[in-house]
Symmetry: C2
């Protein structure tokens, strides 16, 4: 098992003990332990001072103090299919080492008093894969001070500092989807993007624009919308677009849920897919095989992304530097029944 | 943390050590350890003899030998939505104790050499929740000998011996669904059941029959089918039923995926739901809100079932006897847009 003493012996470790840090901070050693273990009962100012000292002196827990038996995958607002695929990928990699794959859903978490970082410090996994949460440099440092390596999977923002991360080729996936519609003859193409706070949402929108403009097709700003990655926003924005005087003949969606929402908007408007409207999704969640017609979409390889994140994590746990800090896996356009040439 | 020394001290423990068991079995102590830890390299006959001795003498690992930090949820052929809801429920219960919830998907598991019980013995969670796997009395004994409590969630067959289990009220859910269709005026009602190896599939089918017959409506055997819990079987069986000379006006499905398959069969036959055909599912997975029209279905409370299983497990981990060995949670009929009175 790479997660415990063996691996940690290989890591550079600070010189100072908990007692020494406590002296520097002017507190008792148990107070430092409380901060290290993510427990409450330490004043904010004191906590901050202790965290700074731990970071400054690169404090590392001595080996074998706290046993652990798994890596933890922390989710924030992720579809169930995606969550399970990511955990399957992590399982593929770590189960050979008899490590478990732990599941934490922040939205479902009943303990609101503690941040997810504090929960991790209390539970002490050998490493953490964080899917989508925003996290601050301070939180990363807090985990690092606790000796818990972190890998980000498709983070909402650019990862802070040197946090290794895994993502998928959003740009080329969106280009492939756009070119597919262009090659079918579509010119009035709508784009429904995800929330602007997500870097990958911006990347996909700009990729659609680039693919259209390099093909000599103008992207009509009246056909561009942004919304949550939800079925409901797909329905609402789909209705808006389909009730325009000159509606689109095709819609590129930011994710599959939005696309299923556009299906519903089309159904309500009496339009048939793909005869009257082409729809393309993004993600390839299992749901899109169970709708009529099956959805054309851009596949993100979530299982492989989970495996790649676990690989990076095992490297960090072993005290080694990963060969690259950012891993990006390819996306694939999967053409099914929801796209066809426009009627006119 | 209840999983370790504290809890185990409270449990009745066998008198014999590994060395004593080894003497009785006529093998070396490391051979007994190999069996306890789920490792290979022990002849089948020897393994069986050792397992019998461990069981007979109620062998329990001494406390603090192997640390662990989580409960493990083992899935076999479960939809992603259901898996995540069950883990959320388990998280609700155990995260307050700083235990993690581990994820093991047997179908996705890359290690085919070892059984899931052997994987658990090697990884040593503080307890296991098994969702759907068939398991034998011998496997249960093997886990028990390793000191790992087990709770079954909605098992495929009747749980063996005293394994505590959690399920949902299949019978009353199926009765409610059938009565809903009867009250709308349906008389030609099809039932698509799950695989006959699942006890709950038989229970639901018999409940539909009972509800119809007590209402004085004959269940036409030509309208009854059995299939896998899959979209594909829903499409295939839906096509068969809709092409009968006297087709049904409503279909009760064994799960939601089959119901989505019937949607597709209806679409291909040019029938509209609910105008031309009423459809009812079972489970209430998130997908059924994202189809047009939203599906009327029987809700199984998967999150609550996961929480109930975790509650039972914590009781066992604490060395106590649960107040009841079988917990059954209520199901609820959720009426949405896929059911309406028949045309004629």
């Amino acid at each position: 098992m790479p997660g415990d003493a063996t691996a940690r012996r290989g890591r550079r470790r600070g010189e100072l003990t908990v007692a020494a840090i406590a002296r520097l901070a002017g507190v008792s050693p148990p107070t430092v332990s409380r901060v290290l273990n993510g427990r409450s009962g330490v004043a904010t100012e004191t906590r901050r001072r202790i965290e700074e000292l731990l970071r400054e002196h690169q404090y590392q827990r001595p080996p074998m103090v706290v046993p652990s038996s798994g890596v933890e995958v922390v989710f924030y607002h992720v579809l169930t299919h995606i969550a399970v695929e990511i955990m399957r990928g992590a399982q593929d990699v770590v189960s050979g080492q008899d490590l478990s794959v732990g599941f934490t859903d922040l939205l479902a978490s009943p303990s609101t008093e503690r941040s997810w970082v504090e929960q991790m410090l209390a539970r002490r996994p050998v490493g953490v894969i964080a899917v989508h949460p925003h996290f601050t440099a301070q939180q990363v440092a807090q985990l690092a001070a606790g000796g818990i390596p972190l890998v980000a999977l498709d983070p909402a923002g650019q990862p802070e500092h040197e946090t290794p991360s895994v993502g998928a080729a959003n740009w080329s996936g969106a280009v492939a989807a756009t070119r597919h519609l262009l090659s079918l003859g579509h010119r009035r193409i709508s784009v429904i993007g995800g929330p602007g706070v997500y870097l990958h949402a911006r990347e996909r929108l700009e990729a659609c624009r680039a693919a259209m403009e390099t093909a000599g097709v103008h992207m009509d700003p009246r056909l561009v919308r942004n919304g949550q990655y939800s079925f409901e926003d797909g329905v609402a924005l789909g209705r808006e677009l389909l009730s325009l005087p000159d509606p689109p003949t095709a819609v590129l969606c930011g994710n599959d849920l939005q696309a299923l929402g556009v299906y519903e908007a089309a159904r309500q408007a009496g339009l048939r897919i793909p005869d009257d409207l082409s729809v393309v999704g993004f993600d390839d969640i299992d749901n899109v095989n169970w709708v009529g017609p099956p959805l054309t979409t851009v596949r993100q390889p979530f299982r492989e992304m989970g495996a790649a994140a676990a690989d990076l994590l095992l490297t960090l746990i072993a005290g080694q530097t990963p060969p690259q800090i950012r891993v990006e896996l390819p996306t694939t356009l999967v053409v099914r029944g929801s796209t066809a040439p426009p009627r006119h």
